[in-house]
Symmetry: C2
Subunit: 200 residues, 2 copies
C-alpha cells in the first residue's frame, strides 16, 4: 500500500508517518520510484504499536526506540523482554532511592526483585507518600496487598505470553499495564462497595 493508504488504515496522519520514518521508528517501505514506496502489513502493525505506545502508553520517543530495539534484536529471554517493556513505561517515583521496606517485602514473599528497578523504587516512593499523608501501611497489610496484586500480575504475564507476535506482546505489557491501571483502581472502589454492602 502507498503511504496515504497506510495513513488511512492506521488513522495516523501522513506527516506523523513521515516523522516516524525520519526518527527511525518505522522501517522504510520498498521504494518503487524516486518518490514512492510500498508498505506492507508489518508497517501497519509497527505504526499501530508506536501510536499506542506514545498515545496510550505515555511512552516518550527514547522509550519507543528501546522497545523497538528489543523487537529488532530480541533479548535472550522473555523475562528480559519484560524488563525492556517495563523500563519504557512511565513510572511515578522511579528516581526515588531504593527502599529497605521493599527489599524486606520481597524477601518475605520469596519474590525475586531488583531493588534498583524503577518499579521497586516507585513502590518505595508510594509507601513514603502514603505514610506522609497519615496512611501508615504496616508489613502485614502490605503483604496482603502484595499477594492480591500478584494475582493481577499472573493474569498480566499469562496474557503477554500468549500474544500472537513480539509486537503484540510489547503492546500487551506496555499499553496493557498503563490502560488496565485505571480499570483496577475503579474495580477496587466497586469492590469496596460490594464488600461493605455484604457486611452491612
Amino acid at each position: 500500500m502507498r503511504i496515504s493508504e497506510l495513513s488511512a488504515s492506521s488513522d495516523v496522519p501522513v506527516h506523523t508517518l513521515k516523522y516516524y520514518l525520519r526518527e527511525g521508528l518505522l522501517m522504510p517501505g520498498l521504494a518503487t520510484s524516486r518518490t514512492r514506496a510500498e508498505y506492507g502489513p508489518e508497517h501497519l502493525e509497527r505504526v499501530r504499536l508506536v501510536r499506542a505506545l506514545v498515545e496510550h502508553g505515555g511512552v516518550g520517543i527514547a522509550g519507543v526506540r528501546s522497545v523497538l530495539d528489543a523487537l529488532t534484536a530480541p533479548p535472550p529471554s522473555r523475562h528480559e523482554f519484560l524488563g525492556v517493556a517495563h523500563a519504557a513505561l512511565p513510572t511515578n517515583g522511579e528516581d526515588a532511592p531504593p527502599s529497605p521496606e521493599v527489599t524486606a517485602l520481597a524477601d518475605e514473599l520469596g519474590w525475586q526483585v531488583w531493588a534498583e528497578a524503577p518499579s521497586a523504587r516507585a513502590l518505595g516512593a508510594a509507601l513514603a507518600a502514603a505514610r506522609e499523608a497519615g496512611v501508615a501501611i504496616d508489613a502485614a497489610r502490605l503483604r496482603r496487598y502484595a499477594e492480591a496484586m500478584r494475582e493481577v500480575a499472573v493474569i498480566d504475564v499469562e496474557h503477554a505470553l500468549t500474544a500472537r507476535s513480539p509486537e503484540a506482546a510489547m503492546h500487551a505489557v506496555v499499553v496493557g499495564t498503563v490502560m488496565v491501571d485505571p480499570v483496577l483502581v475503579a474495580l477496587r472502589r466497586v469492590a469496596q462497595e460490594a464488600v461493605s454492602a455484604q457486611r452491612a
Copy 2:
C-alpha cells in the same frame, strides 16, 4: 490551646485555619474573650482530617463539607458512611454513562453494585478507554481482575471498620483509597517482574 498553638500542632498556617472557620469546615473554639478562643484535641483532629482530605485526598471543598456533614449527623449504617466517603473521592470517569458490562460483571460475581454509582461509571469508562487503546479485556479476564481487587477491598474495609473514631474511618476510606492506589499500581509492576522471573 490558642489558634497559634493549633497551627503549630497541625502544621497548618493560621490564615488557613481562619479560612476553615469561615467556611464552617472547623467548628468554632470556646470564646475566652472578644478576640480569643480556646481549641481542644477535637479541633486538632478535625484540622488534620480536613487538611488530609484537601491535600492528599484531592477532595474539593464541597466534598469536604459532605464528609463533615456525615460526621456530624452519621448515616444510619456504616455502609452508607462508606457511600458518603466514596462520593467525596475524586474519581475519573464518574460522569460516564452506566455500563452494561459492569452490571453483567456484578451479576456474575453476586456483587451488590449500584450501576449509577460513580465507581461503577468510572469502571465502564476505564474499560472503554482500554478497548479504544487496543486492550480488549474479555469477561473472563475482567472477572479474575475483579476477584483480585476484591481481596484488596476486604483489606480496605477491615481497616476502615477498626478505625478508632468516625474521623479516622473517614480518613482511612478517603485518604487511604487515594494514597494506596499508587502503592497498588507499583506493586503490580513489581509482581509482574517477580512472576516473570519465576517463569523464566
